[in-house]
C-alpha cells in the first residue's frame, strides 16, 4: 500500500505547522530565560542567586526528560491548554516545553561568549541593565542566537517525528506508519528526501543570516 501525494503534502503541512508554532513560543520562552540565566549569575549585571538557583535546575530537569516521555507525561497539561490531548495542535504543547529550555541553554551559551570588556564599557557609559541587555548583549550575539534558533528548529523537526504517538501527524509519522510498519520503501525514501531538504534549507538560511549579522 503506497501513500498518495495528498498524504505527503498534508504531512509536510503538519510538520511545518507544528515546528513553526512551537518555534515561535519556544523562542518567546527560551530567549528571556537564556538572558535571565546569564544576567542573574554571580558577578553579572543583575546578580540574583535566588532566581538563578531556581531556574537552572528546572531547565536541567526539563532538558533531561526524553521527548517521548514528556509527550505522555504532560497530557493533563496539554488538555488544559488546548482542550484536547490528541492531534497536531496537542503536539505543540510538549514541543514547546521540550524546546523552550533547550533554546534557553543555547541562548545562554551564546550570551556567555560576549567579552566581559563589552559589558564593562557599557557600564562605564552609564547604561542601565536593560540597555546593556538590549543594546549590547543581544546585538553582539544576534548572529549566534540565530544559529541557536536554527539548531533548535532542526531539533524540533526531529521531535515532531514522535508526535505521531499522540496523533500529531507530520512527515516523521508518515515515514513510521507507512514506510516502516507497512514496508513501503518509496515512502521512506520520499520522506527522508523531504526531511533532508527541509533541514538543509533551514540550516543554510540560518547560516546566511548569521553571517550577515556577524560582520565577519
Amino acid at each position: 500500500m503506497e501513500v498518495t501525494s495528498d498524504q505527503v503534502i498534508q504531512a509536510v503541512y503538519e510538520t511545518i505547522y507544528m515546528v513553526s508554532v512551537s518555534l515561535v513560543f519556544a523562542t518567546m520562552i527560551g530567549l528571556p530565560l537564556g538572558v535571565l540565566l546569564v544576567v542573574t549569575r554571580k558577578g553579572h549585571i543583575l546578580e540574583n542567586p535566588l532566581i538563578f538557583s531556581i531556574l537552572n535546575p528546572i531547565i536541567n530537569v526539563l532538558r533531561s526528560v526524553p521527548f517521548i516521555i514528556l509527550l505522555v507525561a504532560i497530557i493533563p497539561l496539554t488538555r488544559l491548554i488546548v482542550g484536547t490531548s490528541i492531534g497536531t495542535t496537542a503536539a505543540i504543547v510538549p514541543l514547546i516545553i521540550y524546546s523552550g529550555p533547550y533554546m534557553a541553554r543555547l541562548v545562554e551559551n551564546s550570551l556567555l561568549e560576549v567579552n566581559a570588556g563589552i559589558i564593562e564599557a557599557a557600564e562605564a557609559m552609564g547604561a542601565t541593565p536593560l540597555q546593556i541587555i538590549f543594546r549590547f548583549l543581544i546585538p553582539e550575539t544576534l548572529g549566534s542566537i540565530i544559529l541557536s534558533i536554527t539548531t533548535a528548529t532542526i531539533g524540533l523537526i526531529g521531535a515532531t517525528a514522535m508526535a505521531g504517538a499522540i496523533g500529531g501527524g507530520g512527515i516523521g509519522d508518515l515515514a513510521i506508519t507507512y514506510g516502516y510498519q507497512r514496508f513501503s520503501t518509496m515512502t521512506i525514501v520520499a520522506t527522508v528526501v523531504i526531511l533532508v531538504v527541509l533541514v538543509q534549507g533551514i540550516q543554510s538560511f540560518g547560516n546566511v543570516l548569521a553571517r550577515k549579522i556577524r560582520r565577519n
Partner: protein, 366 residues
Amino acid sequence: MGSVQAIREETHESLPSNGKKIEPIESMIEFHEVHKSYESGGATIEALKGVTLNVHRGDIFGVIGLSGAGKSTLLRTVNRLEQPTSGRVIVDGNDLSVLSVKHLRSLKKNIGMIFQQFNLLSTKTVFENVAMPLRLGTTSHKEIQERVGELLSFVGLTEKAQSYPNQLSGGQKQRVGIARALATNPSILLSDEATSALDPQTTASILELLTRVNEEYNVTILMITHEMNVIKEVCNRVAVMEQGAVVEQGNVLEVFANPQTETARHFVKSVVRDDIPSSVYKLLEANQGRSKILHIRFIGESSGQPMLSQVAKRFASDVHVLFGNITELQGVPFGNLIVELQGSEREIARAYQYILQQNVTVKEIS
C-alpha cells in the same frame, strides 16, 4: 549629591617651566584611604591597601606598577566599576559612596573610559560605536550626527565612519575608543593600558592624541600603565604602585630625577639608562687613581654640556665624556654623563669642587 569641593589653593613647587600657565590647583579625583579586598576561594586578596591620591584638574596623571599591583582596581573605583571595601573616592566634588545608582549613572557621563582591548561593538559601525553613549541618553538625532562627525574628525577617522571595527587597525580602534569616550563631553578620561596592545609608533600617535584631548577638550586624564615610556611621554604627575599601595608619587620630573623606591628606580631605568658601562670600570682599573671618574646627573639646560666646557676653561684639567645620554621630559632635558677628569691631582680636586657647586648630582665612581 555630595558637596561641591572647594577650590583649594596649594603652593606649587617650583617646577621647571614647561610653558604651562600656573593656575590654582583644584582637585578632580581624590582617593582617601581606599581599600579593596576580594574573597576568592576562602582567601582574602587585598588589592588596594589604603590608597590616598589626589588628581588635579588638568592633570595627565599616570599610575605605574607591575602586574597585580592594583592599578586597574584603583582606576575602576573612579567610575564605580569597582566598589571600595572602605575609603572614599571623590570625583569632581561628588563623594561616590553617598550617590544613588541614578546619580552615579549620570555622573558616569562625565567620565570617559578607554581600554587595552578597545571593547568596541563588533556588529556596529564606527559611527554607531561613537554614537552609543549618546543613544543611551536623550540626545537628538541631529545633535548625535553633529557630535559624532566632530569627534571622528578630531581623531582623524572621518573616512571610516561606516567601517566596522574588524576592518580597522589597533591604533584606529583605539581612536574610535577615544572618540566614544569623549562623546558625552566628559571632564575626566580613564585609560586602562590603552596603548599596551599597540606597537611603539602607534603608541606614540595615540599618546599624542591623548595630549590633544587634555589640551583641546580640557579633559583630566588618569591613566594606568606598566610602561614608564608612556609616563615619560605624556604625564605631568605620576604615582608608583606596589602591592596595593602607592609607594611614591610626585611630579614626573622629580620622580625621574630622584626615584626614592626600588620599584621607581627600576621603572626610571627602563627609559633612562644610567647604569655604568663595564668599559668605565676597565678604564678605572687601568688608570689607578691618575684620573677621577664622575657620574653626573642633571636636569634643565643650564647644566650639563656648558658646565663641562667651563671646567675645561677654568682648570688645567681635561674632561672626557665617556658615556652620556639625554632624555627630554616635558620639554626639559634630563641627562646622565660619565666623565673622566685628567690632570694634576690639585687641578682635578679643584675641578671636582667646582662641579660639586653646580646644580647637578655628582657621584664619584670608584
